[in-house]
């Protein structure tokens, strides 16, 4: 008997299909932010180490000008982004996000094969463009909007990478981006 069979047999008392869907009851009242939604989103992303810039000018030049010492920039919003061979050399990558979450300052990004996954993790700085219309209140709403499985990898990103593993001192820039700026459009 192989291990798959052995494990499933050991769990055989739990092999019945559920009669009811566990999600049916997930309809409790959640915290709503109403017209404060943008402000709450901003506050949460900032406390996660990100920066929020409200602007409708989101050209590659304008975005790049908001970062210091920018070298190679990749703009993934272009239909066929120009990807350098060595992604480690990219200093700024620009993404557009279809969804942001007010309660925690996270934005949803999925490469979907349009550009390499490593473009989200190797560059020093990330810029994300989101429309204020696409901010939802919480993660329940967020998971209703995204389709997990559509692309191989989907990510909720909340600020630059960070760690507090040395004496609980927060240090921004652990392995991924050291800087993350969010451009909020109308």
């Amino acid at each position: 008997m192989d291990s798959r069979e052995a494990i499933l047999r050991a769990l055989s008392s739990s092999d019945r299909a559920p009669m009811e869907s566990v999600e049916m009851e997930l309809d409790f009242e959640t915290l709503r932010f109403g017209e404060n939604r943008v402000a709450v989103f901003r506050q949460n992303l900032e406390s996660a180490g990100g920066e929020v810039i409200e602007t409708d000018d989101v050209t590659i030049e304008e975005i790049s000008s908001r970062f210091d010492g920018v070298g190679i920039v990749v703009d993934t919003r272009e239909e066929t982004p120009d990807i350098p061979e060595d992604i480690s050399g990219v200093s700024l990558a620009i993404f557009s996000s279809p969804l942001a979450v007010a309660e925690n300052g996270a934005v949803w990004i999925e490469p979907c094969g349009r550009y390499p996954d490593s473009l989200l993790t190797l560059p020093i700085a990330l810029a994300v463009v989101v429309s204020r219309k696409d901010i939802v209140d919480n993660m329940h709403e967020a998971y209703e909007r995204v389709e997990i499985g559509k692309c191989g990898w989907g990510l909720f990103l909340s600020g630059p990478s960070k760690t507090a593993d040395i004496e609980q001192s927060l240090v921004i820039g652990a392995h991924g981006a050291v800087e993350m700026k969010l451009f909020l459009t109308e």
Binding site: E25, N44, C151, I166
Partner: protein, 459 residues
């Protein structure tokens, strides 16, 4: 496996450095306070905990069915699913996949399951370089140490210790213990490891049955980076990591980081449902004793989402340190996991608990931690380790039941404290007196005073 005697012995090593133990206690209490503030921002917090409990219980009731569904959907997505009955089989599966792909260097993100299975030494013995990339885990790996907390692996070390470890292994400046400097140095050194690695091994926070996907949560982005720069991703998960769907995941991603560190969410909350083009992704589903828990009274411990909040709040954990538990997962949940695995070896752990219930109050999945610890304590006392204690307790029970005997014993006690020489009174048999003075007997005993008052009132 670390040598382990019992919790009091191991803890005495930790508390012998009073200043450090005090720092540890306060650092963790600070994390607990952050958790409180984060939970208070959500009026529906208690409801979320109930939902987490309900979803987990539901999933456990249909675990085999959900595992099959996960396997079917993940396979359809292009993920390979493998099954391992125990730690050794898990390690063999991982090693054989690495061999197939000719892997020499692996970057690993945090996974308590691979710690439980002893994967690192297994692979290293077979000539594969394994680099832990979570900063805390990297620190303990370089030091030849083990994690003392599941979320904050190096919480038992001070920045001066880290500075020393890095100076020795990474050539950083001696005596520079600035956390920013140390973190940046580790980032540089690990970047090289990432860019030359052939495979990434990660844990799994949640496996989504309906979507056939796995969710991995980190703040450092090390799992995401490792997966993105290598052509092989192996994700190891215990059978209990399954939840029904992305819809139910909303409850857990709202609870996890708030409970763990007081953040609203982890910086990276990644959902993997297929390998990147040209890459390979394998999920290894591991039992290693978990299926045996499902039918028993301890089954609620399978609902744990590994946030670490029960450790942060535990007065015993905070003051005795993670290593005093002698198991991969320490603290209240670790006590139960370890005891359910090996009741003889870990018989002292159920006693490393004040039954204050703080863990149960903060647990995001409402695992009845202290109740279960209390229950297993009753079986722990039956182990041979506690034969002496059991006999002593039955003697005391007899004394307390029989009043004349009790009164005589108390008189003798008063006499002993007053007249016995100190070295005799505090001999090896006196366990209570090892770390504290015996209580000073009152000049007149309570029962004497009581009898006097009664006599006076009668008269």
């Amino acid at each position: 496996m670390r040598a382990f005697t019992d919790h009091p012995t191991e803890a005495s090593r930790f508390v012998s450095d009073g200043e450090r133990a005090h720092w540890h206690d306060r650092a963790l209490w600070f994390v607990r306070a952050k958790r409180d503030r984060a939970s208070e921002t959500l009026p529906e917090w208690e409801r979320l905990r109930e939902e987490a409990h309900r979803i987990k219980s539901h999933t456990m009731k249909h675990l085999a069915w959900y595992l099959r569904l996960f396997e079917e959907r993940a396979t359809a997505n292009g993920i390979e699913v493998r099954w391992a009955s125990d730690a050794l089989e898990h390690n063999e599966i991982v090693a054989s996949i690495l061999r197939e792909e000719g892997v020499e260097r692996v970057v690993k993100s945090k996974s308590m399951l691979t710690e439980e299975c002893g994967l690192n030494p297994y692979l290293q013995e077979r000539g594969i370089e394994v680099v832990d990339t979570d900063l805390g885990e990297r620190i303990v790996q370089l030091a030849g140490d083990t994690p003392s907390h599941i979320v904050l692996p190096a919480i038992h070390l001070k920045k001066e210790d880290v500075s020393e470890i890095f100076a020795e292994h990474m050539g950083t400046e001696e005596g520079n213990s600035d956390p920013v400097y140390l973190t940046v140095s580790a980032r540089k050194s690990l970047r090289e490891k990432f860019l030359t690695a052939d495979a990434a091994i990660t844990g799994v926070n949640f496996a989504l049955a309906r979507e056939g996907a796995v969710t991995i949560c980190t703040n450092e982005g090390n799992a995401d980076l490792g997966v993105a720069v290598t052509k092989l991703h192996i994700a190891s998960m215990g059978i209990e990591k399954i939840i029904p769907s992305a819809q139910s995941l909303g409850v857990f991603t709202r609870l996890l980081a708030r409970s763990a560190t007081g953040q609203a969410v982890t910086t990276y909350t990644s959902h993997y449902s297929a390998p990147e083009e040209g890459a390979r992704m394998v999920v290894v589903i591991v039992d290693n004793g978990r299926s045996g828990l499902l039918a028993g009274e301890e089954s609620p411990i399978l609902s744990c989402i590994r946030c670490g909040s029960c450790m942060n709040t535990c007065p015993v954990y905070r003051r005795s340190g993670g290593h005093s538990y002698g198991s991969v997962v320490p603290g209240p949940i670790g006590t139960l996991l370890a005891y359910s695995r090996d009741g003889e070896r870990y018989s002292s752990l159920p006693f490393a608990c004040t039954l204050c219930a703080s863990c149960t109050m903060v647990c995001p999945a409402k695992v009845p931690l202290h109740d279960t610890i209390y229950r297993v304590r009753k079986s722990a006392i039956e182990t041979p380790t506690y034969t002496g204690k059991r006999k002593a307790l039955s003697l005391i029970y007899a004394l307390l039941r029989y009043r004349p005997l009790y009164l005589t014993a108390m008189t003798l006690y008063g006499w002993a404290v007053k007249y016995l020489p100190r070295n005799l009174l505090y001999s090896g048999y006196n366990v209570w007196g090892r770390d504290r003075d015996m209580p000073e007997p009152a000049r007149r005993s309570f029962s004497r005073i009581y009898d006097d008052i009664e006599r006076r009132e009668d008269g």
